[in-house]
């Protein structure tokens, strides 16, 4: 742990509750922090300082790659609601579209596209988890598509979806969903809300350390530094480019043709290319697109667009909170956005700061705990992202090199354990629980070498009956749902 309150980061000037918060960077990350802090901790006096006078005209790199659309995971929506923001407002003002998961094309060597849904898959049979039942069925020669037993995947296939009602006791109550939102519209929504809750605009300031004189706590939300090892002179920053080798991203948004435009599909789409990957996140009336690759070996079709590409520098700093400065979002860490976690990680930072907000100028204890939790979440996001990039079946030289690369111990362990017997090793700070990991491994073409012994105790007939019962209940539930587009239209009406 770095020394706290050291000269480099500025000791807090006085004792007593921290009340003056200065936020450096008026991008999505900065306004997200401002809005949620103002709503949860109304005693704070918060000022948002742009990182430069022309910040408004520059791409917003505060979360990492300036994606045209960001995704809120199912758990994130609870944090948004807890702050008093309404999901309906996000849909209305940010061209919001419900998200049930991600379709992956080209990530496994054989077997076609895969769907990674949010939420549970199937149901356990007694003490045996569903994915182990599937492994047993496959060991007995049955061909099972796990996504057929995920409600989110069935909704995505049929284009039907509505948020479950709280009094619904049917299978639909297990439906887990996120939300895709237009990044810039979300930034404006959060900014307006923050201003309405007393947050103030400040002058442009290039160096957050200079804000320490007039604030008790400073949030650095300016986005990733040029290089992690030279981040403000700190030691111990990590460069992740060996396992996240893509360093360029092109982003685009285009309006969907038609009047009215077709309803957005309730899922994202991710294709592995020979030189990188391409992602599509739908919004109401628009489709956003991201193309990620290495500058050294770009796809032929983008060579002309290279100068427009945004830089991507995966890595993280040694500690997010040092002295009186808390680095949030991409200022603290940047992952390849292939797992769609940019907004999630920044929101987790803000929620964590609210829970640990210093009651006193001496905030070493809060900082230590914040950094511990931040690192755990960061490690888990790293593992999830790196396994998607380096243990897939995609075709291309860059993928071959990634598959040959050595993984950090914990990352490799997760893969090796699942490959051995389908167990998921979960750690503190997970973004995804067991189903999320299982479906990712499925989508990458990784299957357990042998099923769980307990699963093999289940007779074939019982498995078949279990599969049928789940499928029947799910299809009946989905049939009752309205088309996704109709629900969005209703929210916006």
């Amino acid at each position: 742990m770095a020394a706290f309150g050291s000269g480099a980061f500025g000791a807090l000037p006085r004792s007593g509750p921290a009340e003056r918060v200065a936020i450096s960077g008026g991008g999505l990350c900065g306004w997200l922090a401002a809005c949620l802090l103002a709503r949860h901790l109304p005693h704070l006096r918060i000022v948002v300082h742009p990182a430069s006078a022309d910040e408004e005209t520059r791409p917003d790199r505060s979360l990492g790659v300036p994606l045209a659309a960001e995704v809120l995971l199912p758990g994130d929506l609870e944090h948004i609601a807890a702050a008093g923001l309404r999901g309906g407002d996000l849909i209305r003002h940010c061209r919001g579209s419900f998200m049930l998961g991600t379709a992956l094309t080209g990530w496994r060597a054989a077997g076609g596209p895969a769907f990674v849904p949010f939420g549970e898959i199937g149901a356990p049979l007694g003490p045996v988890p569903f994915h182990q039942i599937v492994a047993a069925a496959r060991a007995r020669g049955h061909d099972v598509n796990m996504a057929n037993y995920a409600l989110g995947a069935l909704c995505a296939q049929t284009g039907r979806f509505a948020p479950p009602r709280s009094d619904d006791a049917s299978v639909l109550s297990t439906l887990s969903f996120g939300l895709a939102v237009e990044s810039d519209a979300l930034r404006r929504l959060l900014r307006d809300d923050a201003l309405a809750h007393g947050v103030q605009h400040g002058e442009a300031v290039a160096d957050p350390a200079s804000l320490c004189a007039a604030a008790d706590l400073v949030i650095d939300a300016r986005g990733a530094p040029e290089a992690w090892s030279e981040n403000g002179g700190e030691q111990g920053g990590e460069d992740w480019s060996a396992l996240m080798p893509f360093d360029r991203a092109l982003v685009a948004k285009r309006a969907e043709p038609g009047t009215p435009p077709p309803p957005p599909p309730p899922y994202a789409h991710l294709s592995a290319l020979a030189e990188g990957w391409q992602g599509f996140v739908p919004l109401a009336g628009a489709m956003t697109e991201t193309l990620v690759f290495a500058a050294a070996a770009p796809p032929a079709e983008v060579t002309g667009a290279l100068p427009e590409a945004h830089r991507l520098a995966p890595g993280r700093s040694a500690a997010a909170w040092q002295g009186a400065i808390v680095r949030m979002g991409a200022a603290a860490q940047q992952h390849d956005p292939v797992a769609g976690l940019q907004l999630h990680l920044a929101l987790a930072d803000v929620v964590r700061l609210i829970a640990l907000f210093p009651a006193n100028a001496d905030c070493a204890v809060e900082a230590a705990e914040y950094n511990r939790q931040w690192r755990e979440r960061s490690d888990c996001a790293f593992d999830y992202t790196v396994l998607r990039l380096a243990r897939n079946g995609a075709k291309g030289a860059v993928w071959d090199r990634l598959r040959a690369a050595a993984l950090p111990h914990r990352t490799a362990y997760r893969h090796d354990l699942y490959a051995a017997n389908g167990r998921i090793a979960l750690h503190d700070g997970e973004v995804f629980e067991t189903p999320g990991w299982v479906m990712q491994f499925e989508a990458l073409g990784i299957r357990p070498r042998r099923p769980d012994a307990l699963a093999m105790t289940v007779p074939d007939m019982a498995i078949t009956a279990h599969f049928e019962a789940i499928r029947k209940a799910m299809l009946a539930g989905v049939a009752k749902l309205p088309p996704h587009g109709a629900v969005l239209a209703e929210v916006c009406a």
């Binding site: 921290a18 809060e366 012994a453």
Partner: protein, 528 residues
Amino acid sequence: MANSALAAAEGGHPGAGEGAQAPVGSVVIVGGGTAGWMTAAALANRLAGLPVTITLVESDEIGTVGVGEATVPHIRFFNARLGIDEADFMRRTNATFKLGIEFVNWGRKGDSYIHPFGAHGEPIEGVAFHHIWARYRRAGGTEPIEAFSLPVLAARENRFAHPAPDPASLLSTYSYAYQFDAALYAAYLRSYAEKRGVRRIEGRVIAVDQDGESGQVRRLTLDDGREIGGELFVDCSGFRGLLIEQTLKTGYADWSHWLPCNRAVAVPCASAGPLSPYTRATALDAGWQWRIPLQHRTGNGHVYCSSYISDEAAAETLLARLDGAPQAEPRFLRFLTGKRHRQWNRNVVAIGLSAGFLEPLESTSIHLIQLGIGFLMDLFPTREWDPMLAREYNRLMDLEYERVRDFLILHYHATERADTPFWNYVRTMRVPDSLAERMTAFRERGIVVNYRDGMFLDASWVAVYAGQGIVPRRSDPRAEGLSDAGLFIKLASLREDYARMAGELPQQARFLEMIGARMDMRAPEGVA
């Protein structure tokens, strides 16, 4: 339950796998105490559909330790999975209900607090209750945190009823466990396991054969010359670790510098007074005393450190402090706190005292057995013996042991006691960094460091911190913003609600009768 339906399913073992892919076909459990019979019963239940033979070798000559007569709530899931009826099980093991543990003289002489199976208070505007309570104390409030706990208030008056299923009810704010006769519990599970095909062999192991190449245990030789071969061996032989240590030389991590107690003396005595639904742990000069009330008697013991007190003095101290007449000669035990470096080594899995020892201050012994069994089921080996299974088993068990260890150390270290050399040692010793950081976080800011795995959740840590005199120096700023007047009114009304609800619960003895769990005093001990 679905699993009993599976167990009942007929029709062989379709596609259970061939050769190396097949689960191991024979399990040999060495030792028939609580660990051995819990393992046998759980395996017999959960492997019912597999072609596995389960054999348990035990010798009547070798006594069992009968670890932990007090349990934690997880035991109910273990019993439920076996399909055990609560009232029947309680009658046959002379069991009582348990709402928590009372700690006497730990933080300071004269202190008493109960660590309940349940949370204190309720969050106010999203802020955890202990922040609110700390703020209330700093504003001059005098109530201890346990005044805001239904199970504590009920326990103090010897009252008990099952928790309510309705989450809106205050009666849903607690859980419960049992206090039972561990020897009778083992006998109960033995009868269960034998009915389900577990073969019990009486005999003493005098030789162990290993495979020359892999080092795996292949065969046991008994004192009468019989040989017992097996594929998976579960070592439930107790402290000595017949297979895991004496045969495989696995090695042991010694934690006695943090938990220096290394002996215990135990004696049952006659019951006196109403049946209390809690265990009591009273800190003494060089260790502590347990008191576990069962239906027919009270279990007592003195856990101590031999560097600070002699065996004779320890026994005398215990005998002088019994509620009723002693019912047996005092029995002495020796142990070394710590854990086996690898609880799963080659084809041997150590469960129970052979895996490690953590003193029963928080009734963790049976829970650690239960965890070991659960992980073994989840990671049940095939004949290829994939090394990932043992690695994951050891990773998970190491985490559990280390986290229980830290929680136990907290009880000794968070003290003001300076009245004996023993307390001076534990109060001033250097504790593991993992614990030091946690204690600082709570003391300074009321942060309860949370984790995914590990049996003790936030509420338990708060109970012990607060019970042993650690009031956070500052709270969540949202709690700081509350007005004194509002705070006192809110807490007074909460306290009244808890006290009223607790007062409405029946006495435990009455409740045992109501549900038909009262032991039949005329029946002989043992299982029919």
